[in-house]
Symmetry: C2
Subunit: 232 residues, 2 copies
Amino acid sequence: MAGNARVPRPTAQRLSLYLRELERLGAIEQVTVSSRQLGESVGATDAQVRKDLGIIGHSGMPGIGYQVMALAEAIREVIGVHKQWRAALVGAGNIGRALVAYRSFHEQGFEIVAVFDASPAVVGRTVAQLRVRPMTDLAATVAREGIDIGIVAVPAESAQDVAEDLVAAGVRGILNFAPRLLSVGKRVAMVNVDFRSALENLVHDVSQREIAEIFAAVSKPTVRRRRGRGAA
Amino acid sequence: MAGNARVPRPTAQRLSLYLRELERLGAIEQVTVSSRQLGESVGATDAQVRKDLGIIGHSGMPGIGYQVMALAEAIREVIGVHKQWRAALVGAGNIGRALVAYRSFHEQGFEIVAVFDASPAVVGRTVAQLRVRPMTDLAATVAREGIDIGIVAVPAESAQDVAEDLVAAGVRGILNFAPRLLSVGKRVAMVNVDFRSALENLVHDVSQREIAEIFAAVSKPTVRRRRGRGAA
DNA sequence: GTTTGTGAACCGTTTCACAGCA
DNA sequence: TGCTGTGAAACGGTTCACAAAC
């Protein structure tokens, strides 16, 4: 019932992480969690967790914490994962096939119900029990199967066209694996997953860290001591 | 030469996107870009682009814009992609194999030079010309091959152990595909790619949009008109 | 003692707006 | 005229700190 307040994006992202941890705790039959424990598992502070849960209108019990199961359910509702989402995958290449094979999606509210590819060489082949269909079937299939979201796993050059086809077919959201900004109307939601950017962000971090270490070594040539949080 | 100032994370992420666009423009032999054009291609404002480039200490020419090639090179240097990075992949499952097959990494400063897997059934098999090695070879291989970064593509349950092995072996950064927060020392950089979170963020967006539309329909039952930026 | 809920202070980033240069 | 560079203002999110609840 609580769940129509505006949720800032950073909060929405963390909710997803809280949910994962809550499911883990539920499986272990832990009944309550403190904001502190929940925060630690996802790299957030306790205050942050409380703010986030406040935003979605969920309350805990002072001195006790939050009910694991009830909280998980509340988050699912806010995120929208309480219903099952049906997805169409476009692109049966390496990434596409890996996604279809990712069995756990199904248990988490997502299901890839159709696979498409532009290449005649691939159309008709079977990927994880799904027959790869030609792009010409897209619109009809999206309508018939009640598909909500499209997954774009094609090369950058064709990604924009595919996105437009998906939008025309009526999907409400697109998960884009192509390294290109796709422009779709603002009625359609869009999330990008970009390996190259992820790697570049990583090496940038590594580089900055190296520079920082050289600096530290020069300006403070003693043994460094920092508080807390060491990793085994 | 310019490139040791502190770069805020949001800026670093956009630099990665600018670089892609600059490479595309370079291929088309466009010589200069305006902040406006560059911004549009990645979904940022012109002011944002100028601020970002200012941060990395790169200047353009008033009335003209930025030199495409020079800017690309400057960004590569800041990101750290001017050198070639060597990666070890752990986990030869679906995602792992998709990553190895991702040929374009190589042209972009990254190379997966070794693949590891814990399962004896997989060890010894060949993935894209690389023989899958047992985990016991990890430390020696990382040292011998001069590997900088590790890619974790194993199930959530083993991810933390793998991360610790990688850190012990001496990698400086980890790209994590497992849906779990991995704790490593703060000397090691870490970037997460999480399909489930991405999907959840997407459906959350879709849900919010639906709510917003219902709202709009109720409170303002006229044809909506908003300025700018429509997509074909 | 533990832990929540939250106003207030804080901080980093984005946007604005305009002077200055080509 | 077109576009950059940049202080100053605005914004949004995070952290702090503490009263209230168990």
